[in-house]
Every structure is written in C-alpha cells, then in structure tokens.
C-alpha cells in the first residue's frame, strides 16, 4: 500500500502519464484542426456552393460554424453568414423559415438542423416538439404517434421532400385505421384533407357538431354528414351549409309550400310527427268553437291542403234554416255560438223600422220560415174591424211603422166637402172618431151637430 505515496495517483508515473496525455491531445488537437472534438463526420452531400464550400464536410475549421461562447456572434449567425437564402426567407412569413421564425423567434437553426451525424446522415431532424409545424397551417397535435405506436418521420407524410405534401399521404395510414370510413369520407368530401383538417383534431374522432350553432338534435343526429353538407370540399363549404329547414327539407314538404318554409313553427327535429300547428297562421283562423274541434272534423282523411274555408262546406248539415238563408252563415252567425246570431234585416227588401224593429222574429216568421215571406202588411196585420174593410190592404197609405196611431188619411175625404164647412179635405179639427165612432163605414154628424141644426154644433164655424 505504500506504492501509492502521499499524493495518491499523482505518482511519478501518474504525473508523467498526465503530461504525455496532455501533450499528445494538444498536439492532435492542433494537427487535426479541432477535428478530434468533432462529434462525428460532417455531411458530405454537395449542394449549391456557399461560403466557399459545396458541403459541410469541406469545412475544416470548427470556428466557421461554432462561435466561441464569449463571442458576440451566435451559431445561427454563423449559419446565416453562408446560408443567405435562408436569411432572406426568414424575412417573409409566407416562406417556410419566415413562418417558423414568426411562430417562435427563439428557435435556433440547430433545433431542426443537425450535423456531425455522419457523411450521409440527414441534416434535418424536425422533431415534432421543436418544429412549429402549425406555423405552416397544420398542427401535429393529433399526429404524435403512428397507429403502431411509433414516432412519425417527416417522410411518413412528406416522402423524400419535406417541402411537398402529397394529397394521398393521409389516405395511406387512415385507410389502415378504418378503410370503410376513409373511403366513404373521401368520396363524400374529396381527397384534399387539408382543405378541412388543420391537425388540431377539432374535426377528428372527438368531433361534436353540438359545439356549433346548429346542434344536431333528434332525427338530425341520425343523418349522415352529406345529407346536409353535400359536395362540401372545404372548411368554408362546411361552415356555409344553410341552416334553415327549407334548404334541406323543401323536397319533403307534403304541404307543397302552403305553410311557408318555416317548418320549425310546427315541427321539431324529434320527428315530423307529432306536429304542433298554429292554425291562426293559416288564412282560416280557429276562433270560438272552431278552436275546440279535432283536426279531422274539417280535414277529413288527413288531407290538409285545399280544405274549403266556407261555412257551408262543413255546416250544411247544421243548417236549421233548410237553406232558406243561403250558404253565407257568417252573415248572421259567429264562430262562438250558433245561437248568438245577428241578422241585419235592413239588408232585406223589408228593413225593420219603428215598431217592427221591436218585434220578435217568430212574430212574423212563423213556423221557422224565413224565406219567401210576403212583405205586404196584411200578411201579418189583419185589417181591424174598425176599418170595416173601407181602406183596402195598403196600411202604409195611412200608417207608419212608428205607431198605428196617429195615422194620416191621405185621400180626398168624401164628406163633408169643403163648401160644407170642411177645410178642403175633411172636417178640420175633428178627429176621425168624432164622425166615425164605431166604424169607418159609418159616419155620424150628430155627435157634434145636434139634430139637424148644423149651426150649433161644436167645433164648427157655424
């Protein structure tokens, strides 16, 4: 144990070994230009010459790319010193590197591009975590793992060239996942997957239509996408699908447009039936008793279209007038009650005036007969015995409907004549009954003129 001495491994041999190692390594370092620190061979693929070399492998000095830690320059500065075309790209968001820098300004070239991995190793290693794929319009959020659990390679979607994307790239994997769906889906919506999908999976397996304004309820939930989104080939197409009922259901309308295009007023998405129809939106509003009847009482055999809206079509059997008042029930009746009828007699050729308007209908319309009644007075009014048939049947010649009495005698009075002391028509001042106390067939003078003495009669100017 004494072999090791006081300074442990710093024995004479140890110190010599240290010096030799240091000498050799420093010598090799100088001789190799730092290559001994290289983590591996540089890429030898030749490209467009820049910075005096056609490939990284031709670079012999480490410091050409590796700025010293204490230098103001960064490694990306060193990259861009040669790769001026990339520096140019980074100025425009429309270009690949511009879009990337826009998304994450802190990204360094080496976060995607690596070297020292061999002469033929790829210079680009865009790991999902480092490469802001979403800056190019497609997020890899939903593409973290392949179906077999393995990590994605750029070439899985891009093939040889990462700057291109073949439209059928998606199909290859997604057909393996679900062939039937993939085929049906591309038939329905086309094969340009990126037109709708941006990789955030919002239209993926956890897609719910109910996050949109048009929620799928009832029967709508059973419909296939293309029932509404026919020929949609882009997100914009999908979003512009019409949301009104008629756009899809016009062809289903058994009402042939009679009820307009707002199906939802009566129907719900739970099914066409039962429907709740607001009849008051139709031209025939349901008022009074009409609101109480079952639909089929008017709409026989469920035929809703062309149902006549005139009363008589339904109420012919109810006509107590036996058709005598015609078919315009509404002229007198309202929907609330048959009994609550109001007949405007003035519309007939016999307007009710005076005392007539006070009479009850059946006083004239006996036996329920309303049609064809004679308007002659005598039809109702018998000539009183007092007239004794002296005036014929034209009551209206002397009477008005206001009252039987007073009446005005409008004919030349036979006796006494004017020259007999009358006033030219009849005895002025005397009432009819003064001379005709019991009948107009008989006249007497003696009620006023005593005996034959016409001089002492009252009321006269004898």
């Amino acid at each position: 144990m004494n072999n090791t001495g006081r300074f442990g491994c710093l024995t004479g041999m140890g110190a010599i070994a240290a010096l030799i190692t240091l000498f050799v390594l420093v010598g090799v370092a100088f001789a190799s230009g730092g290559n001994m620190f290289s983590a591996g061979a540089l890429n030898a693929e030749k490209g467009e010459p820049m910075g005096g070399v056609a490939s990284h492998a031709e670079i012999t000095q480490c410091k050409l790319c590796h700025a010293a830690p204490w230098s103001a320059e960064t490694m990306p500065d060193r990259c861009l010193a040669c790769h001026a075309n990339i520096a140019q790209q980074m100025l425009s968001v429309a270009q690949l590197h511009g879009a990337i820098v826009q998304k994450d300004p802190n990204l360094a070239c080496r976060d995607c591009h690596m070297d020292h991995r061999g002469a033929t190793a790829s210079l680009t290693d865009m790991k999902g975590s480092a490469f802001p794929h979403e800056a190019l319009g497609y997020s890899l959020e939903g593409h973290q793992r392949k179906v077999n659990g393995g990590a994605f390679d750029c070439s899985d979607c891009h093939g040889e060239d990462v700057t291109t994307f073949a439209a059928d790239s998606c199909q290859t994997c997604h057909s393996q996942m679900d062939l039937a769906f993939a085929q049906a889906h591309s038939l329905s919506f086309g094969t340009d997957c990126l037109a709708c999908h941006d990789g955030v999976d919002r239209l993926g397996s956890d897609f719910s239509h109910n996050t949109f304004a048009f929620q799928l309820m009832g029967e709508h939930d059973e419909a296939s996408c293309t029932d509404c989104h026919l020929d949609a080939r882009s997100l914009a197409d999908l979003q512009s699908a019409p949301q009104d009922c008629a756009s899809c259901h016009l062809k289903d309308d058994p009402h042939a447009g009679a009820y307009g295009s707002e199906c939802g007023v009566c129907h719900t998405s739970e099914g066409w039936l039962p429907a709740k129809f607001d009849h008051n939106l139709a031209s025939f509003k349901l008022e009074g008793e009409h609101a109480e009847v079952a639909c089929e009482e008017c709409h026989v055999n469920n035929v809703f279209k062309g149902t006549p809206s005139d009363c008589y079509s339904c109420h012919q059997g109810d006509d107590e007038h036996g058709g005598t008042f015609g078919t315009q029930c509404e002229s007198c009746h309202n929907p609330s009650d048959w009994e609550d009828a109001t007949f405007d007699h003035s519309r007939t050729n016999f307007p009710l005036t005076g005392e007539h308007s006070e009479a009850r209908c059946e006083e004239c319309h006996t036996n329920g007969a309303f049609k064809g009644l004679s308007t002659a007075c005598v039809n109702c009014h018998a000539d009183p015995a007092y007239h004794a048939g002296a005036f014929g049947t034209d009551c209206a010649a002397c009477h008005t409907t206001s009252s039987w009495s007073p009446a005005t005698f409008n004919f030349p009075h036979p006796e006494p004549r004017a020259e007999e002391g009358g006033n030219g028509i009849y005895h002025g001042g005397a009432s009819c009954r003064d001379c005709h106390p019991s009948s107009f067939r008989e006249a007497t003078c003696v009620a006023c003129h005593d005996g034959n003495n016409f001089e002492d009669g009252e009321g006269g100017d004898d």
Binding site: M1, N3, C9, T11, A15, A17, L25, F37, A39, E73
Partner: protein, 184 residues
C-alpha cells in the same frame, strides 16, 4: 462467496436499473438517446461524477496519514462499485458512437475498468485484514514477494491509465462546453 463480492452485486444491481431505464427510453422514443440531450447528457454527467468519486475519494483515503475514515476494504468496495457503475453510465452516454476525443476517452474508460478487474484479482491474492493490511505468514515468502511485485507493477499501469483518462475526459468536457453546451 456472495459476501466477498458485495460491491460487484451492488454494481450489477445499479447497472441493471440504469439499463432498464435506458431500455425503456429507447423503446418509448424509438431511438438511442443522444449524448447531448437530457437523458444522454445526464448519464454522462452522473457517470463522470461517479468516476471522479472512484478516483478522488479512494486516493484521499489512501493518502491520508492522520484521518482514518472507515476501513480500507470498505473504501475499496466503494471504489469498485463506483468504478463500475460510473463507466457503465458513461458508456450509455456515448450513444454508441466512438469517434474523436470522446471515443478515445471511452476506450480509456473501458481499459481502466478491465485494469481494475485485473488489479482486484492480484490484490485478493494477498491475505489482508479488514483494514487492508497484509497478514503475514499465510503465504510463503516467495509467493508473497511475487504477489507484491505484481501488485506494484499493476499500480504503475493502472494509475497512469487513470490519469490519462481523466485528462482526456476533462478535455472532452471542456470541448463539449465550448462547442455545444454553451452554444448561443
């Protein structure tokens, strides 16, 4: 026998654990952890710290005249344990590429480990107390003399290789810091 190889069993246990974790990482990411990334770099750093402990602690204990912390046999066991676990982690850190200085350092590491195995074989040929002191009289004078000469010869090889290894390792660490770790 198991007791005599306790440090080997510990080293085997720890290396197995590390290998298991490494295997899981390879399976999960479907690729070998790169030396410069979290897993690979951590393996390198921890492995190198263990290797430094292998060297420094044992040397300090051996060269200490006054202090006597623990038995020498325990320190040798610890030296062997860290001298196996450390290099194993460093080997995983290489990501199985052995070019340049890093490759040379790995090679030296493997050599020093093999050298350690050889040394342990020679060391155990001389009967010792728990403190590592030789027990006189169990071997013939001739045999003891040969064993001591062999041990001495071995030291003159093992120690310079170790020193060369650490010089090269420090240069590797420095270069890694300069070219990669401190990159802006």
């Amino acid at each position: 026998m198991l007791r005599g190889y306790k440090e080997l069993w510990w080293a085997f246990f720890v290396c197995s654990l590390v290998a298991l974790g490494y295997g899981f990482v390879v399976y999960w990411y479907q690729e070998i952890p790169a030396a410069s990334e979290l897993i690979g770099h951590s393996l390198g750093i921890f492995g190198f710290i263990l290797m430094l402990m292998t060297e420094i602690l044992y040397t300090l204990r051996k060269s200490s005249r006054s202090a006597r912390w623990g038995r020498m046999s325990s320190w040798l066991q610890f030296h062997i344990f860290t001298g196996l676990a450390g290099p194993f982690m460093v080997l995983l850190h290489t990501s199985w590429k052995f070019n340049g200085l890093a490759g040379a350092t790995t090679l030296l590491t493997m050599i020093i480990v093999l050298s350690g195995f050889v040394g342990r074989y020679i060391y155990t040929r001389v009967p010792r107390t728990m403190d590592g002191l030789e027990i006189e009289g169990t071997l013939s004078q001739e045999a003891l003399k040969r064993a001591r000469q062999l041990m001495s010869l071995w030291h003159t090889v093992h120690i310079p290789i170790g020193v060369a290894l650490f010089i090269s390792a420090f240069l590797h660490v420095g270069a890694a810091l300069y070219y990669a770790t401190l990159l802006k």
